[in-house]
Structures are given as C-alpha cells and as structure tokens.
C-alpha cells in the first residue's frame, strides 16, 4: 500500500470513487460454459474486471512423471493479458502471477475430490482480460464455477471476496485505486457450506480489531457472491434441462403427426 497524494479523498460523505457505499459489492455478472473446447468454463465480469476461466480434465498428465498414484494432479495458472492493465504487462509470468497461481490452487484444491481421479490431471486456466483490483478473488469465484461446469465432483463451491481499509474505514471489495492507495487489503476465499477458509492474505496495516472486522466483512461478501454463483449455474443447467425436455417433447409430437 502506498501513500495517496495529499488532499485526494477515496471516500467522501460515505461514497466511494465508483459511487458505492462502504459495504457494497461491485456489479457481478457470471456466465457458465462460455468456451467451446474446454471441459468446463466460465466468464466473470466483476466491476471492471473481465476474466475467462477454462478447466481441462480429468485428463492424462503431461509430463507423465508428474502424475500422482492416489489422486489427480491439480494445477492452476493465473495469468494477466498484456492489455489488461493501464501500462502493458509483459506476457511472461511475473513473480506476482506465480504466487497467485499457487494460492489460487491452494484455495480451490480443498474443495475438489481429486482422490476420485488418480493418475490424471485437472488444469485450471485463469486469464485476466481486464483488471481493476480484486482479480484473484474474481478468478477463484469463476474457476470454481468452471470446475462445476466441467462436471468435476466438488465438496462445495469456492467463493472469494476481499475487504480492506480505505481512508481509515473498513470497506468491502476494493477496486484498483482503493487497492493502490488504501491502507490494507484482505482477500479471502471460503467454502460456504462449512465456512472454512481456503485462501487468506493480507497486506497493509491493521489492528487486530480492524482485521477481524475486515475478515468478517469479506466473508459476508463471499456469501453474496455465492448466491450469484449458484444462480449462474442454475440458469445454465436448469435452463438447459428445460430446453432438452422441450426438444424431446417436439420430437414426440412430430412422430404423432406422422
């Protein structure tokens, strides 16, 4: 967190730079099954973040020697497109992306029943097309949907959201400016049915009480996103089921007409 220029307010009269209140999430839109070739996929728009996720697997592991005898090898790649940021980002994976790939994997793997697919690999590819703060959380939320879309057995969805401290106030879901100039950022991922935490990071400066408040606010944000994840999956699969029934129904009618 760097110091903000003096005189610039990030929250004035309870309104943030993008017009939100302190405890408001940004607008979130989730699409399921966006990609043709992937086994599972999802697209999320979280504020100005635009992120595509593809899941491949369970499939043969390459290179083969990495395969595990008792469970699937779970791999994750978090990557930002060169055009996703204000200044062009070198497409080679940065140290930040390597770390985020690791924590993303560790956030998603506990929910995945990898032991059902020994000697195989499950690959999750997260591509950030446009970033505006909070991409790791948006990526995790979308990746969890893509895993479900791939039909991989999960104990639970994984849902992520951040909270932090901006202008001395605890706020939900920081955007890029708030992340850059704010006092602290706490990204959290949970498995909502049991409430266990699978990702937790923090940078900035917080007292114990502020940290507690931020963590609980982030978990509250997670629960709101969880409802949207379920709704997105229902929209695709319940919608699909109805259209299949319709097709079958039409087929029967045609036969009757013969």
């Amino acid at each position: 967190m760097s110091e903000k220029p003096k005189g610039k307010e990030l929250i004035s009269q309870g309104i943030r730079t993008d017009g939100r209140g302190p405890k408001d999430l940004r607008k979130i839109k989730i699409d399921v099954g966006t990609l043709e070739k992937a086994d599972g996929s999802a697209y999320i728009e979280w504020g100005n973040n635009k992120i595509l996720v593809a899941v491949y697997g369970p499939r043969e592991v390459h290179p083969r020697h990495l395969a595990l005898p008792d469970r699937a090898l779970f791999r994750c790649r978090y990557h930002m497109a060169p055009f996703s940021t204000e200044e062009r980002k070198n497409p080679a994976p940065s140290r930040r992306e390597v770390e985020l790939s690791k924590v993303t994997r560790e956030a998603l793997e506990p929910a995945t029943l990898t032991e059902l697919f020994p000697r195989t690999g499950i690959d999750v590819f997260i591509e950030v097309l446009q970033s505006d703060g909070g991409t790791r959380c948006a990526g995790i939320a979308a990746a969890s949907i893509a895993l479900a879309d791939a039909g991989i057995p999960l104990k639970d969805l994984v849902v992520a959201c951040a909270a932090g401290k901006v202008d001395g106030q605890i706020v939900l879901d920081l955007n890029d400016v708030e992340d850059q100039l704010g006092n602290a950022d706490v990204p959290v991922a949970i498995m909502p049915r049991t409430g266990v935490i699978s990702l937790l990071q923090m940078d900035g400066m917080l007292s114990r009480e502020e940290f507690k408040e931020a963590l609980e606010l982030a978990i509250d944000g997670c629960r709101q996103v969880y409802a949207m994840q379920k709704e997105a999956l229902m929209r695709k699969y319940v919608g699909e089921k109805e259209s299949v029934e319709e097709e079958i129904g039409e087929g029967v009618n045609e036969k009757e007409g013969d």
Partner: protein, 280 residues
C-alpha cells in the same frame, strides 16, 4: 506439488499426532514454543549488512547490498527495496539448481510484504535525485539448511541484516551529485516486523513447525507483526483449510510470539530504530 516437504513415515506421523493430542511436540517443545533462535550479524564483510539466523537446525543467511539505481516510474521519490530468495541445492535434497521455484517466489514475496507494508525501511529517505537516482536495497535470502519454517527464519534474518546494514556516508552537492565521505551510516529503519508461522495439524495449532511437522500439516498461516502489535501481512499457505477460530487464535499467538522474540531474543528493538536519519 513441488514443495520441499519431507515424506514422513506413517509410524512417525502417528507418534507426532499422539504427542499433539496431549499438547506436546515430538521434539519436547510445547505447542507454542519456538526452537532455539540464534542470530549472528555481520559475518559477511563484503555485504552492507548480513545476518545468519539459526532456528533449531534451520539456517538462513541474508545479505543486504545497497547500490544506486533508478526509481520505479510510479514511485519517483522512493528508494527501491527488492527481496529475493535462493533455495540453494546444498540446503535440502529437494532443492534443485535452476530458476526460482514457486516455493522460493512465495517465500520472497511474503518476506517482502512484511518489510514493505510495515514500512520497515523508510524508502522516502533513500532518494538522491527524484525520478532519476535512488538507493536500491537488495535483500538476498540464502537458505543454507532446511529443517522447516523458512518463512520466520528468512524474515528475521532479513530485518536484522537491514537493521545492522551500514552504507558509506555521503553528502549531496547543489547539482544533486553524490559525494562520499569517510565513515558509515545506517539505513533509515522505522519498524521492526517479525513473522510468525502457525501450522495446523489435525485439530491442533502449533508454532514454528519443523520439517517433519511441515510434512503433515493441513495448512499454515504466516503473520507479520509490527513493533506496535499491528498486523502488516498475512499469508495462508498449504493445501488445506482453516476455520475462522483458527485464524483468530493464530493472530493472537503470532502477536504474543512476535513480542517475545523482539524482547527476549533481540533484547528490544529500539536500538535499531530511528537510525540513519541523516540520509536527505
């Protein structure tokens, strides 16, 4: 995946678990005891600052080098701090030569976050000519012997190396040129973060896991605590999960342990703070 966790035999795991149930550790420690911490500063004369930390049998050496360079374009008036970790192959059978592994990058970034977010080094005081020339502080962490808990050992070695680093005294001429003088000055230190790792095995939370304990942990959480008990950085790591109560308990433990290390092991940290005010 590529983590350097040791494979612990099932029979040994059982013994470790049996000890933990009785709130004991297999090496005789209590659940929240650190192993013996030994610190040696200034072993490397060619470095601006250096520190060798022994945490039980884990050994980590940090060297600090200060050079002149360009600032980042978005922080033209700040000096530059970079943290790098080398998991050298002599430290563990699972370390290999080659580009830094995921594990090394995570370790470096967590130490970096602790130093940066606590504002340990006052980077504003390391500017020579705004936008053109600043001091660049290289913190190079060398893991020499890996017996678990590299996070805490590396963070401690790094802050101590920074705290004891000396650079040539200098003055700035009117046209912004730097002139070196005799004598040395310290780096401008304003906070003293200590990182504490709490690991979860079964239902128990333990502090400072050894290598074999790391081989059976569900998840661990590293917490950087500043001199006024503020939390500056957190990283949950490892494949498992933590409950909300685990997190709160870990934060409280980390605060107590960080205080204990600052007072008992280092004899208070005030001796290192507020020095080097002469830069700029």
């Amino acid at each position: 995946m590529a983590e350097s966790f040791e494979i612990v035999p099932k029979i040994r795991q059982k013994r470790i678990s049996e000890h933990l149930i009785q709130d004991k550790r297999i090496d005789g420690r209590g659940l929240t005891d650190f192993r013996k911490i030994k610190t040696e500063m200034g072993l490397i004369e060619k470095a601006s600052g250096s520190c060798l930390v022994s945490l039980g049998k884990t050994k980590v050496m940090t060297g600090v080098k200060v050079e002149m360079g360009e600032p980042y374009s978005d922080r033209p008036e700040d000096g530059v701090l970079t943290v790098n970790v080398e998991l050298v192959p002599l430290a563990s059978p699972s370390f290999e030569p080659g580009p830094p592994s995921e594990e090394a990058i995570e370790l470096a970034r967590v130490v970096d976050r602790g130093l940066r977010e606590s504002k340990a080094v006052d980077l504003g005081k390391l500017c020579i000519v705004p936008g053109r020339r600043v001091f660049v502080v290289f913190v190079d962490i060398y893991v020499l012997d890996h017996d678990g808990n590299l996070f805490d050992a590396s963070a401690l070695a790094s802050i101590l190396a920074l705290a004891t680093a000396k650079i040539r005294d200098f003055s700035l001429s009117d046209d912004g040129r730097i002139e070196f003088k005799d004598g040395t000055i310290s780096l401008p230190l304003q906070n003293f973060p200590v990182e504490v790792t709490v690991a979860k095995i079964g239902e128990k939370l333990i502090v400072d896991p050894s290598l074999e304990e790391e081989g059976m942990i569900d998840a661990r959480i590293t917490i950087a605590v500043g001199k006024d008990d503020e939390i500056c950085a957190i990283q949950k790591s490892g494949p498992g999960t933590l409950s909300l109560e685990d997190v709160y308990k870990a934060v409280d433990t980390a605060k107590d342990k960080a205080k204990e290390i600052r007072e008992n092991v280092l004899g208070g940290v005030e001796q290192w703070l507020g020095k080097g005010q002469r830069i700029q």
